[in-house]
Symmetry: C2
Subunit: 675 residues, 2 copies
């Protein structure tokens, strides 16, 4: 790293540097708004000029989190997840694969053909961490990795540690499984994230050289290509937004929308890879779940730049297909181990769920893009569901153990692991957590939109160009009140759009302690249009009761059962921590007024501090495992049972106390309780 | 075929020839009992001298079926299944693979590496068909196939169409997936079946040459080996029984019981292949379902010859594991597509069931072996369940379309096919149906045991050596009465053991119209010990109500549902043929007295003549597919519904009227009916 670069990096970080603040409201603004599209004003998506976008991104650095739910997870991410995963990537030869190319090490290549992407995702995560504030160790590690990657690039721009030596002749021949464009996509995303951290283009330019090489080889009149594992589409659109070079958008168009009969893909390939045919021809979700989610995210990004109506129709159709037939209550996607695939409608097994963390992340990313396009809260609702449940369950509270699959029922042998041979999920959750502040707010011409609730301070600007500071004080998601303090640069009329979650049936909003309004439209944005001035306070009180959720009767795995939800959190019953029979031997007791039966209670000593839910249940005295497999109906009469109290924990915290039986969907009985 | 052989074949066939008889009782005995172990007195298993056997086999040719349930299926098997599958085997190059070896055709090898076994199983089926009576076309086809197979054998005895030319060096190197011993096992079984048809040893000797070659290469002090796909164990024991050569039993011992650490198998291989470690160390069923069932069958056969107590303990443990946790109500086995595997306890998905026909057949074969060893009816009960449901569903009523997987729920796109690339199931069901008469009776020192009920005539001998004829008149399984006519060669005291099915709670038995006894022990053998003389009649009346069966609450897929069963038949609701809503939108209505609600009715016009069950149900007016995926409990209140009549059909007949939605496990409501 040369001195000039170091100096520039230092300046920018000093600007961005703001410690996570315990008392957010007291702090001064530390991020002066930049010109609308300079590197440090670009959010997770630099969609300020995108014609199809309604809600524009706010940079990660513009939102500082105070103490609470997410900052604890982000701290574990920074302090444990990133360093430990980098050690694992070193240990398993993922970094050495690059050193082998640059000649710095003489070794065999290690790991599956897509390992490059794992390092790139780690780099993207590290860059996002630095956008929230400097961390010398992570910065130093990231810079070293950039050196390693850059040094491995071929003179022609090609860069992939697998397709070298005797395999060089296989470059761009195996789109189905080869993951070359997938790896390129992650390289571009890492390069863009780092550019938006520092203004430094080195990694970005490495990616651009590879992208330009790929474009020189592939496409109309050249070698026919398809994504194989969609991912690059989102990266290409973001690269177009970053560089303004139309060729990247055109290549995304080619991959997403062109017919390519010359590829001679069979139906199975088309379904499995969710690529290779015009995206607009998709009728339903099928095939590999991560591929499908990423493809939808890419199509949404492409729509944002082009407003292609057919594409939006397709995205709407697919969204409907997902949320009415194929999504887990945790926002997870992927029902089958075979093909890591989305299943048939209503095929949502719990114990055998595939539910790869990456697919929940893909679902989150796609819905956030749909939200930015439409401003419709239904997309934010799905995003929140995925984020708090199916995404967050993918990492341990300690930050260094992961789930690849996130089942909704477990027999007691499932454990988180520090490493997977295919380790796509760990760095994916890392980049998601590290970029989370970028998902809190958006701006539109009408004003400011709130999406996520947490102690935090926004320092940014309205689209009028005037600065604004907004702080939130809340114990969300444990408690149901959020207090906003608004501080515009000067008095100004604009709208504050408050996200009303889908689970809050009646939400109360007051401004400066008066004018309380009751919003009875869950999953919407409530618009507060007024002249705002410094010190204005908005108090939002959600309706956050415990809810019992039933699944469509066609979901066999959940028939006769309920899931317990409170706020955005889905709960589960874990064997550990309950002095009681197996989760497989109980039935929740509920009557008409379930509020009396399900008691939320914050427990500092449980799982680092969570709100548990105490519930009444009936437990059979003879474990079901000792009963026959089949018997005539009513043959055993009413089995002997006793009433017990059980303690439900948030789903995302399961398997943090050792392996244990676990259930999300529990049988229930409407029955007079034995008082 | 030389003249001498033709002549001998002709004589024996003339002896065996007896057309399927419409009025069984009127016929003369056509099979004079032979010496106890001559080729034509050997049943499906030649277990007359086996020290661990309680019930001894009766030859296939000794039982002639009259009209009825099974003879219709066997007729379709002979007339449609065998000829059409042979055409398919020719068309797909399976026979040509042998011609390639013998130099009769210069072609590429076709199909997966295990195709030889498909032809061998077809040959075994053809041989069994001929044991019930000559069929010139099948005989001629079988003889041609024997020629083709024999001509392909190497001078060293090795015979496998895959491991030749450049792959010859891979012989006996890939036990895990190579299927060499599996193919050898099927060759031996075909050779033995043909030997028992005609006394002709040509195919048997071909198998023996290959077996001797394999034994010369593999085993202690030679190359270490394991079965990989168990099957050969049963074949080796049967070869030992046929030839009395201890080396075959010793090789079975090596494969089943030796430790072989030199194989360095990992846990996954050991679980998946269900071989490679001493069988007695198995704690539970796991891995590939067909491999596991066949391994258990082989272990039972080995026990029969050795009385190895540890092996029987293990078989008992595994049986308990299967029937209390891992078996479908249809007697099918195999829950997962991944690894074609048995699942976790209670993992019994319906729509995604793997339930390969071969696994149900394997379950049937194994239980029949356990029955022969123990004389315990519980094994016959599982066998009957598998045979009438999970096995028989594997072939269409027409005989020429098959299921490889036999799901218990279908979304409406599942169709039977005439051919599968892996076509193991079609010839497997053919050999099972063709050999079925061999499963009707057994003998023991105490007398004669009945297992299957059908219009039929047995001409055989008691273990005293005296001839006996037993005829059955019945419409089983549609009706609940079986009338036996007993005709011993002369007056003799012996026991007639009548199988009391597990579903008959109170069975009435009378002899010569008097002495009615009520047997209240389902799943047992009822012993009638008396002096029998010609013309004695036994009338058995089973209790055959419609039963509603519930599954253990731990079987999530069946929670809150019932299956309908009558006699040995499991029923299902198929979309086709019901002028009603989807099977996914109904709930069966039942009250305390279910007899009033479920009306069995024989319908000649339905599916070639079956007893359907008319039932009352509630159907929702808005299809569930139009309801949301998740909603708050009770949010929709009681959905609008109407009472409808539905018609259930026997499960084995489903998908014979085109693709259709189908359900075995139906939701039910205990509710006052709208009269």
């Amino acid at each position: 790293m040369n001195d000039q670069r170091t100096a520039r990096f230092g300046v920018k970080l000093a600007v961005a540097l703001c410690l996570v603040c315990q008392s957010v409201a007291a702090q001064e603004s530390s991020v002066p708004p930049q010109s609308n599209n300079s590197w440090d004003s670009q959010g997770v998506a630099a969609n300020h000029s995108s014609p199809g976008i309604k809600l524009h991104s706010v940079p990660v650095r513009a939102v500082k989190l105070g103490s609470g739910f997410w900052s604890a997870r982000m701290e574990a991410n920074k302090k444990r997840s990133l360093p430990s995963l980098l050690s694992q990537l070193e240990e398993h030869g993922v970094v050495d694969n690059f050193r082998r190319l640059s000649g710095r090490k003489k070794i065999e290549r290690k790991g599956p053909l897509y390992t490059d992407s794992d390092l790139y995702k780690w780099m993207e995560a590290a860059a996002f961490v630095l956008q929230s504030g400097d961390d010398p160790q992570i910065r130093s590690s990231l810079e070293k990795m950039i050196d390693e990657v850059e040094a491995a690039q071929g003179t022609d721009g090609y860069l992939n540690t697998y397709y070298v030596d005797e395999r060089a002749k296989e470059r761009f021949t195996n789109f189905r499984h080869g993951h070359e464009l997938y790896c390129l996509g992650h390289l571009l995303q890492a390069g863009i994230a780092y550019y938006r951290t520092t203004g430094e283009r080195r990694l970005l330019d490495t990616g651009i050289r590879f992208a330009d090489y790929a474009i020189s080889q592939l496409g109309p009149g050249k070698k026919p290509a398809f994504a194989g594992h969609p991912e690059i589409e989102m990266a290409l659109v973001e690269l177009y937004r970053t560089t303004k070079q139309p060729r990247y958008l055109e290549f995304a168009d080619y991959l997403l929308n062109s017919k390519r009969p010359e590829l001679k893909l069979n139906e199975r390939d088309i379904a499995y890879t969710f690529s290779g045919v015009p995206f607009a021809t998709r009728q339903r979700f099928e095939g590999h779940s991560v591929r499908a989610m990423y493809a939808a995210g890419g199509a949404a990004d492409y729509f944002a730049e082009t407003r292609d109506a057919e594409l939006m129709n397709t995205l709407g159709r697919l969204w409907q297909d997902l949320v009415t037939q194929k999504m887990y209550i945790t926002g997870s996607v992927g029902s089958r181990e075979v093909g890591e695939a989305i299943g048939e409608p209503y095929e949502l097994p719990n114990e055998q769920a595939y539910t790869e963390t990456c697919a929940a992340i893909g679902n989150y990313m796609w819905n956030w893009r749909m939200l930015a396009i439409t401003g419709e809260a239904k997309f934010a609702s799905i995003g929140e569901r995925a984020l708090y449940n199916g995404v967050l369950s993918g990492v341990s509270l300690s930050g260094d153990h992961y789930f690849y699959r996130n089942p909704l029922s477990a027999l007691g042998r499932t454990e988180r692991k520090p490493w997977y041979t295919t380790t796509c999920c760990p760095p994916n959750i890392q980049r998601t957590l590290a970029s989370l502040p970028g998902y809190f707010y958006s701006t539109s011409a009408a004003g400011l939109w709130t999406h996520l609730y947490h102690n935090s301070q926004l320092d940014w600007q309205l689209e009028s160009g005037r600065k604004i500071r907004v702080s939130q004080q809340t114990d969300y998601p444990w408690k149901n009140v959020v207090e906003f303090t608004i501080a515009p640069e000067s008095k100004e009329r604009f709208s504050l759009f408050l996200r009303i979650p889908e689970w809050s049936d009646r939400t109360r909003v007051s401004v400066n302690g008066a004018d309380e309004q009751v919003i009875s439209q869950p999953s919407s944005y409530f618009e507060l249009n007024r002249i705002w001035q410094t010190g204005d306070k908005v108090r939002v009180t959600f309706d956050m009761p415990v809810k019992l959720i039933e699944a469509n009767p066609r979901v066999r795995d959940n028939f006769g059962r309920v899931a317990v939800q409170r706020g955005p959190l889905v709960y589960c019953l874990e064997g550990v921590g309950n002095d009681q029979p197996s989760p497989f031997d109980i039935s929740l007791l509920a009557d008409e007024n379930i509020m009396d039966d399900f008691i939320p209670e914050f427990r500092t000593e449980v799982l680092g501090g969570v709100t548990v839910i105490r519930a009444q249940a009936v437990a059979v005295k003879t474990p079901n495992s000792q009963e026959p497999l089949y018997r005539e109906l009513d043959q055993r009469g009413s089995p002997e049972s006793k009433q017990v109290e059980v303690t439900l924990i948030p789903y995302y915290t399961w398997a943090n106390r050792g392996p244990s039986e676990m259930e999300v969907w529990l049988p229930w009985t409407r029955q007079a309780k034995q008082k």
